[in-house]
């Protein structure tokens, strides 16, 4: 009796999930656009031959119908469980991401740890086409673009679906999203998208500042201008500690400096001067980022969440008038080097 009971439970738990591996079409990258009130879903699908990838599209008034239409074009069932990246067009993001996020969060045939990107000035279908043409149809090409970004090493800046939804649900914090665009027939990283709630507000060029203030930048490379030339300085182990008294925000930024190239010659005379230059340069970058987000009234740094702990009666438009002060405390790492002149 016990054995039969066990068998029945096992059947109820599992037997519907059976699928052979050669009866599925594995989708690796998805692109979502909206045109004339119709969703267009493009998908990169693992081909039958080795190293072959195909692009398939499906349209529909809802995401469900678009996926169903996409499936009709395929000989096997579309398998979404291994989708690594979803690219959403900026037009769609301006309308609001909520319907898309809702669809994927509730859909159990897709894992929620895929990366979300916005397509900047191009449609996501074009991005997928470019990926396919440049033989970069590998599913993690796009995430790699950000991983090996020359200027900034984003530690975990690329947002997965769950991270984005977490940020959206958090009070006093607005999300940002990485964007990609096409340049010279290659997919490259583009400006950072700043969102207010689930809607795209603007694309920001001040990515470094945002990354530092959000504590995502591990190390950055900074150019310090002197009269004609410039020196290249690397800032490492950057860490921001944010404190508040309920009215104003104090950012204590620590880190170390190492000089990579010095073409300024004797213009940078000593340690103190170097520190001063770096701090001045950094202050400028951070101010720009803060001012930009203040103009958009989008608290992407999450100061609202911090303030509401001290100040229960926080106004809804607290961010535009918020006083934010940045305090720097950098140390020079390469003291032995002959890179600046006493």
């Amino acid at each position: 009796m016990k054995k039969w009971f066990l068998l029945c439970i096992l059947f109820l738990l599992t037997s519907c999930d059976y699928k052979e591996l050669n009866e599925i079409s594995i989708s690796t990258v998805l692109g979502i656009d909206k045109k004339d009130n119709q969703y267009i879903i493009s998908s990169l699908i693992v081909g039958k031959e080795e190293n072959e990838t195909i692009l398939q599209n499906g349209t529909g008034t809802s995401l469900t119908t678009a996926f169903a239409n996409l499936n009709l074009n395929l000989s096997e069932n579309l398998y979404l469980n291994h989708v690594q990246t979803i690219i959403i067009s900026d037009d769609l993001a301006k309308e609001g991401l909520e319907p898309i996020l809702n669809y994927f969060i509730k859909n159990d045939s897709i894992q929620n740890n895929f990366y979300l990107f916005l397509a900047h000035n191009v449609s996501s279908k074009q991005i997928l086409e470019t990926l396919l043409e440049s033989n970069n149809s590998d599913y993690n090409t796009i995430t790699n673009i950000f991983k090996y970004n020359d200027e900034i090493e984003f530690s975990d800046k690329t947002d997965t679906l769950t991270e984005l939804v977490d940020t959206l649900l958090e009070k006093g914090k607005e999300p940002t999203l990485n964007t990609v665009t096409i340049s010279k027939e290659r997919v490259i990283a583009s400006n950072l998208a700043i969102l207010k709630k689930d809607k795209l507000k603007a694309f920001s060029e001040n990515m470094i500042g945002i990354a530092i203030l959000s504590n995502h930048a591990n190390h950055i490379v900074l150019n310090i201008a002197c009269k004609e030339n410039k020196s290249v300085v690397e800032l490492g182990s950057i860490h921001v500690k944010t404190k508040t008294n309920g009215k104003k925000i104090d950012n204590y930024i620590t880190g170390n400096i190492s000089v990579k190239e010095n073409t300024c010659g004797k213009t940078i005379k000593n340690e103190k001067q170097l520190l001063k230059k770096v701090e001045w340069e950094l202050q400028k970058i951070l101010k720009n980022s803060i001012n930009e987000s203040k103009q958009l009234n989008s608290d992407i740094f999450g100061y609202g969440a911090l303030l509401s702990k001290k100040n229960k009666n926080l106004k809804t438009d607290y961010f535009t008038d918020l006083i934010i002060e940045n305090h720097m405390n950098f140390k020079i790492k390469d003291k032995e080097g002959d890179v600046y002149h006493e």
Partner: protein, 486 residues
């Protein structure tokens, strides 16, 4: 016993149904009718002619006067023989005849003289063929019972080492010896075994394998509850640990009782090597055990139910490999496993001259051709190869068969229920193992129930000079094995 020699010979001859290998010779010595009987084949003709017949015909004439009371006494005293016995019961005669003894009958006496004249039918001590070893004693048991006991006795010279004989089999009258060390083994268990052996009522026992089923009857198990080995050093190690050994006449395999699950991960060689290296070997054996049981089932469940747990690159690689294969994954694996099992069985039975041809065909069919023909995927061949090779790490054939049974069970659970079925099957296996008991000892000792002393020689082995006690699940008597009195 009938004193009339003619009637007696007639009776014996009838008992053997006038079998042609029963040889009867009649003599007349000092006006007395004398006869000697033996069975050709089991008796040594040379011994009979040189000693027995010579004494009866020549030496007897040399005995002057009347030293002995009668002819029977004279014969009994002048025939040179190391194990001369006097029989008084008629029904014992067939046993001694069949065992190779010569029976001397003298007319008018109610007894017979039994003389040792057994033919040496042994093949000599050779190296173990089924349990290979690199470092350690190379000898192994043979079909000769006395020699087998001798191989153990020469290693354990303690008078406390005891051999108790029981005769089993109505027709075969096979000698079954129970070996134990009196002051280590628990007598309760020894008596239980001897009692069980004496109660066996069967017409024939031809190998120790026949005895096993009569000894362990309570719980059925696919994993062996008795170790069968042809290595005398393993037998001695077990005896010293308080285990009991059964040796069966004409069988080169000794049975060691009780066998615990952990014992199949041990090898007598482990104790002759550096303990640190042995720990790694034992870890490999455990890994191989898990791999050989679980890998095909895990592969099936991951390929058909739980694809999502695969990393992307692996998934895509597997996807391409599976595309051309027309069969379901589980059928593919089962097919390959069955072919491999057939090959293995062939390899044991087939004459060695044909082995090379078979391995070429087997290797090609299993490996290259099946993949090229698109019948199976390369990864399935790898899975089956890894599974099979891991399974061959165990030398005990019963263990291999037990593993094979569970492997198939795991495959069936995974085929129908995916990873959940796999987990349930794993639970069933652990529960089954934990539930087993052999003569009061838990099969999973010393892991469950936990026994710290036993753990010192389990999946790890601490050096012999630190291993002081025998674990309590084997014996509660005389626990100290290092230092102390004995």
């Amino acid at each position: 016993m009938n004193p009339n020699i003619e009637i007696l010979i007639q009776k014996i001859s009838e008992t053997f149904h006038q079998s042609s290998d029963l040889k009867i010779r009649n003599l007349t010595i000092k006006n007395h009718k004398v006869a000697y009987l033996f069975i050709e084949g089991v008796s040594s003709g040379a011994t009979i002619s040189e000693f027995i017949v010579h004494s009866m015909t020549y030496d007897i004439k040399q005995t002057k006067g009347n030293i002995f009371h009668n002819l029977f006494d004279t014969l009994q005293n002048i025939i040179p023989n190391d194990s001369l016995m006097i029989l008084e019961k008629e029904e014992d005669i067939p046993y001694y005849l069949s065992s190779g003894f010569t029976i001397v009958l003298v007319d008018g006496y109610k007894k017979a003289i039994v003389l040792e004249s057994r033919q040496d039918l042994s093949r000599g001590i050779s190296e173990s063929s089924s349990e290979g070893i690199i470092r350690g004693p190379k000898d192994s048991f043979t079909e000769t019972h006395a020699m087998n006991i001798g191989l153990v006795r020469k290693r354990i010279k303690d008078p406390n080492f005891v051999v108790k004989d029981t005769f089993v089999g109505k027709r075969t009258k096979t000698k079954v010896s129970t070996l134990y060390i009196h002051d280590i083994a628990e007598m309760e268990k020894v008596n239980k075994i001897i009692d069980k052996l004496s109660k066996i009522d069967v017409d024939g026992i031809l190998d120790s394998g026949n005895i096993r089923e009569f000894l362990i009857t309570k719980q059925k198990s696919t994993f062996p509850k008795v170790i069968s080995t042809e290595r005398p050093d393993l037998v001695c190690q077990s005896l010293l640990n308080g285990k009991i050994v059964i040796l069966v006449e004409n069988s080169p395999y000794a049975l060691i009782i009780p066998a615990l699950f952990i014992d199949f991960f041990h090898n007598p060689e482990d104790y002759y090597q550096n303990p640190a290296n042995v720990n790694l070997t034992r870890f490999l054996r455990l890994t191989a055990f898990l791999m050989t049981i679980l890998i095909p089932a895990l592969y099936i469940s991951v390929m058909t139910f739980n694809t999502s747990i695969l990393p992307e690159k692996l998934l895509i690689s597997l996807y391409h490999q599976r595309l051309a294969v027309p069969f379901p994954t589980s059928f593919e694996i089962l097919l390959l496993l069955i072919i491999f099992e057939i090959l293995r069985e062939c390899d044991i039975r087939i004459p060695s001259a044909m082995g090379t041809a078979m391995s070429i065909v087997g290797g090609l069919v299993l490996g290259d051709a099946a993949v090229s023909a698109g019948i199976v995927s390369p990864i399935a061949v790898i899975i089956v190869a890894v599974t099979s090779i891991s399974g061959l790490l165990f030398s005990d054939i019963d263990m291999i068969n037990g593993i094979r049974f569970w492997r198939i069970l795991f495959i069936l659970f995974s085929t129908f229920f995916g990873i959940i079925g796999f987990t349930v099957c794993l639970m069933i296996l652990v529960i089954k193992l934990a539930n087993l008991k052999i003569m009061g000892t838990d099969y999973l000792s010393p892991i469950s129930p936990l026994n710290v002393i036993g753990l010192k020689d389990s999946f790890i082995r601490i050096p012999k000079n630190q291993d002081k006690e025998r674990p309590s699940y084997l014996t509660t008597k005389n626990k100290i094995k290092l230092g102390g009195k004995k």
